[in-house]
């Protein structure tokens, strides 16, 4: 404690000096070298020097403070004091190794460190002669839109101040092209003759995935009123009977999705209409057009769950899977999803533990130093992910053999979302419910790599946010295949147990 005061007091004095201090002090502490003396996090200086704000046509260089502090007269000095104190604190009391720099660089967090006024201070006109057609549309949107905190220049220009390898906010025609021909190409889908877990093979690709047989049964959907972090839309609890089905043991991976993309994708923006690629063959499926930007966020693909795809794209993927495998694949209903996630449990998670103990932020959490071993074993979430998706190997499955139901990425369901879905069902219980007949947004279930423990509960509900997730897509019309602003949602597939998967006629 003594050490604390010895060091903290000079910090306060330094702060006061900044307030009262001369222009000299202010300008000295605003020099790039001064900033760099503390900001030693990986690549801060290098990536700045590689960015378009350093390598410019005119040779002008934009200094750290020009982007990271508001312009003079617009709150420059107060911000300088505030960030200065915070930085001194961080420098002396925190271990830079412990910072999750990747998370701090993510758009939502980066916005906090780049006041938008700094962008507009220099970039007075948004409509420069060199602007592309898409840039014009995007800037027109910006110009007319209501100014909210999440509408920020760096939504589209994230790499403006610090170079990000592979970052693109533009048409990405070559996305998903296979670099080398895979060794195995499956030519037959799996043959399923009995109600057992099986491995599906996607014909014409090297992708396969595991499907778990989930026995039918009854469970209570929703959460009791006293469950921590419960939202109103999780009740009233309702008794649900579920018929047997198969569900993916893991979330649909990039490899699986790219098999679909490669076989069905349109050849450019002009083909972004249903059926244009399929020609006269009514059975063929017209798939996604190339993305705008980098849908995998440069986190890698392979076995990582597919992200940035729209609900429509996920449904089309299932439709295509039906065609190439001859089995009835689809998105899970919300009830199937929760049944599969709970795997017979009635507690907040399918593993032991209190959501409040797993919540990581807040003073209480710091004091309690809770044991998070359990949750770390089963879930990729904010507490253990380096701010991005992980491969399924990172966690253990639930009792049904399913991985990452609560985390890694949130998952699309087939139901329309309503906050009063459960009160719509009869009190006596319901069989295989599929949600309201219509709605505006679809249900998503499960938390993601960026969620805290409360959102990972088996009963937690959420929904798509179409407008928000397409915000920085400057294309007209916006893509119906790729969300420009949603990197935390994916999906898993359900396969129906029917005559195509071994169900006999006389079987109930």
């Amino acid at each position: 404690m003594k050490r604390f005061w010895i060091i903290f007091i000079p910090g306060i004095i330094l702060g006061i000096l900044l307030v009262l201090g001369s222009n000299k002090a202010i300008s000295l502490t605003s020099e790039n070298d001064f900033c760099a003396s503390c900001h030693i996090h990986p690549q801060a200086t290098t990536s700045w020097k590689q960015s378009v704000h350093y390598i410019t046509k005119s040779g002008d260089k934009t200094a750290c403070v020009e982007c990271h502090l508001p312009p003079k007269g617009q709150g420059h000095i107060p911000a300088k004091i505030r960030t200065g104190l915070r930085d001194v604190w961080g420098k002396w009391f925190k271990d830079p190794e412990e910072f999750n720099w990747e998370e701090k660089s993510r758009l939502e967090n980066a916005r906090k460190h780049v006041p938008e006024s700094t962008c507009l201070y220099c970039h007075e006109t948004l409509f420069t002669p060199e602007l592309s057609r898409e840039g014009e549309e995007a800037h027109l949107y910006y110009d007319q839109a209501e100014k909210t905190d999440d509408l920020h220049c760096i939504n589209c220009h994230l790499n403006a101040g610090h170079y990000i390898e592979g970052y693109t906010h533009g048409g990405n025609e070559s996305f998903g092209m296979l670099e080398e021909k895979p060794e195995i190409i499956y030519d037959e889908p799996a043959k399923v003759t009995s109600f057992d877990s099986f491995t599906e093979y996607i014909p014409g690709s090297s992708a396969s995935f595991e499907m778990a047989a989930i026995p039918g049964g009854e469970f209570t959907m929703g959460s009791p009123e006293d469950e921590p972090f419960r939202d109103e839309d999780e009740g009233p609890q309702v008794k649900v009977e579920i018929s047997p089905f198969f569900i993916g043991k893991a979330e649909v991976t990039w490899d699986e999705y790219l098999a679909f993309y490669a076989q069905t994708s349109g050849e450019g923006r002009t083909t972004d209409t249903e059926g244009s690629r399929s020609g006269p063959d009514a059975d063929a499926i017209s798939g996604a057009t190339p993305p705008y930007g980098q849908p995998d966020q440069n986190w890698g693909m392979g076995d990582r769950p597919v992200i940035s795809i729209t609900h429509h794209a996920a449904e089309t993927y299932c439709k295509w899977l039906r065609l190439v495998t001859g089995k009835n694949y689809r998105l899970p209903t919300e009830a199937e999803w929760e049944y599969a996630c709970r795997a017979g449990t009635e507690s907040p998670y399918f593993f032991e533990g209190d959501p409040e103990d797993f919540q990581r932020t807040g003073i209480l959490a710091a004091i309690r130093k809770n044991d998070t071993t359990k949750i770390n074993t089963f879930v990729v979430y904010q507490g253990n992910s380096p701010a991005k998706t992980q491969e399924p190997e990172a966690v253990k499955p639930n009792f049904f053999g399913l991985k990452n139901m609560p985390g890694n990425v949130a998952e699309f369901c087939s139901d329309w979302y309503s906050d009063s879905t459960y009160s719509m069902y009869p009190e006596t219980g319901v069989i295989d419910p599929s949600g309201p007949p219509s709605g505006e947004e679809k249900v998503i279930r499960g938390g993601s790599f960026r969620d805290q423990a409360g959102n990972l509960r088996s009963a937690a509900r959420d929904h798509t946010k179409t407008d928000q997730w397409l915000r920085t897509d400057p294309q007209i019309p916006k893509s119906k295949w790729w969300y420009s602003d949603c990197s935390h949602v994916g999906f898993r597939v359900v396969c129906e147990y029917d005559e195509k998967t071994g169900k006999k006629d006389n079987e109930e």
Binding site: F127, T128, H139, L140, Y141, Q144, P477
Partner: protein, 448 residues
């Protein structure tokens, strides 16, 4: 998407709109009904643009309105010349050239007369200071962009586009022009008409309270048409018959009625955010357009604006606007009455030789537009109304699409629509576009 047109347009800028080149805008104090005093700038229009170094204008589109606009320009003040002409038809260019010579003693050199679909660029590049864009509106977004790219001041006729993609393009180009300090006047001449501008100032100052509803009308007899001619290709025929083809004119709800829609936008300081329209075709002779529209527009504050337009002989005619406020109403042009119909305010027109009040403003608004443009350029006070007119054009397009489809159409849909009318190729030959007349309830709704 919320729009900031209200903030941007109300009072300040919009009032200043008419004040292009005003030497000393005077402040008028008007007592608002709630007792608060609001200051509104009354536009001070000059009768002639000030003198200055010669300004050369090039005219693109030498039809009736283009020729008229060129004459209005030449009448705006001293030292103004039209030095280049462009059109796709030699006969139109020649007759324009002759009229300029006869009426204004303005001669255009042979080498500055350009014919063809690329004539616009040649006019722009011919060393002019100002370009006058008066072709059918389909071409406006492209010509406007080229003129701004070349840093020219611009007079362009309304409407400024025929489809959502074109209207958005003009919004963007308007911004570019603004950042380059270029002046742009757009043929919505009521904003340059002294009675309208003074009425606006009264309304903005609160003389009739808050606006609660609005109506606007352009009901007139049949316009004109051309019959096909065996010597003409389809492209030539369509362009000569342009007010009857949607891809060229935007249909008359856009082509003519934009004037009235623009007045409502001006007075309310907003633009509609959605439209439900009716429309049909009863008597039209050529083309693919409707001859009547009736549209219920709604502003973001819930105020309804009813718009009507018709081009049919033998029916009741009416070209006007009407706004209802909490304390009275106005015809937007020259009078405000209270809720009992008693006159609150009336615009005072100039007196004639006998000392009687006339019906006309001192300077024709068609001349005033050019006086305001030349004044803005010569006094170095840039004035740019292109964005306002692009918004009003988009409102007309929104009403048209709703009437064609029978569906509710929103402003957001328009701002996200990739609908682009017209053929891919421009040459004198067949025109490869759908020519069906829209049927409400069945027509394709673009990008909804």
């Amino acid at each position: 998407m919320k729009n900031n047109i209200s903030r941007r347009n109300f009072l300040g800028k919009a009032a200043a709109a008419g004040a292009a080149g005003a030497v000393m805008p005077s402040l008028m104090n008007s007592c608002a009904p709630d007792g608060r005093m609001k200051n509104v700038i009354v536009p001070e229009f000059l009768d002639q643009a000030p003198d200055g170094p010669e300004l050369k204008a090039g005219l693109i589109g030498c039809g009736g309105r283009g020729t008229g606009a060129a004459i209005n320009f030449l009448s705006a003040g001293p030292n103004l010349k039209v030095t280049a002409l462009g059109d796709v038809f030699t006969d139109r260019l020649n007759s324009c050239r002759e009229r300029l010579k006869e009426q204004k003693d303005n001669e255009v050199a042979d080498e500055n007369c350009f014919i063809g679909f690329d004539a616009f660029q040649k006019v722009i590049d011919s060393g002019v200071d100002i370009v006058i864009l008066a072709t059918p509106p389909y071409f406006r977004p492209e010509h406007f962009a080229a003129a701004v790219e070349a840093r020219k001041h611009i007079f362009m006729e309304k409407p400024v586009a025929v489809d959502p993609a074109g209207a958005r393009s003009v919004m963007v180009t308007a911004k570019k022009a603004e950042s380059m300090g270029l002046s742009v006047v757009t043929g919505t001449q009521r904003r340059h008409q002294r009675d309208y501008a003074n009425t606006y100032a009264q309304v903005a100052a609160g003389a009739m309270g808050e606006i609660v509803s609005a109506n606007c009308y352009w009901n007139q007899s049949k316009l004109w048409h051309r019959d096909p001619n065996a010597d003409w290709t389809e492209m030539e025929y369509m362009i000569r018959d342009w007010v009857n083809w949607c891809w060229l004119s935007g249909d008359h709800i856009v082509e003519q009625h934009v004037h009235n829609l623009d007045v409502i936008n001006w007075f309310t300081g907003k633009h509609p955010v959605q439209a439900v329209g009716f429309g049909s075709r009863h008597r039209r002779v050529t083309g693919d357009q409707f001859d009547n529209f009736s549209v219920d527009f709604v502003l973001d504050n819930g105020v309804h604006v009813h718009s009507m337009c018709r081009q049919i002989d033998g029916c009741e005619n009416n070209v006007s606007e009407y706004i209802q406020g909490t304390l009275g109403s106005s015809n937007c042009q020259n009078a405000i009455v209270d809720l009992n119909g008693k006159e609150i305010w009336k615009y005072k027109y100039p007196l004639n030789d006998q000392g009687e009040e006339t019906n006309n403003v001192k300077v024709s608004p068609y001349d005033q537009e050019h006086i305001d443009l030349v004044t803005a350029i010569r006094t170095d006070k840039p004035f740019n109304e292109a964005e306002n007119t692009a918004i009003s054009t988009m409102v007309g397009i929104m009403g048209r699409i709703s009437s064609y489809t029978g569906k509710l159409v929103t402003w957001d849909e328009m701002m996200n629509s990739d609908l682009k009318l017209g053929p891919e190729v421009f040459e004198f030959g067949p025109v490869d576009i759908p020519k069906e007349i829209p049927v409400p309830g069945k027509a394709y709704k673009p990008n909804a």
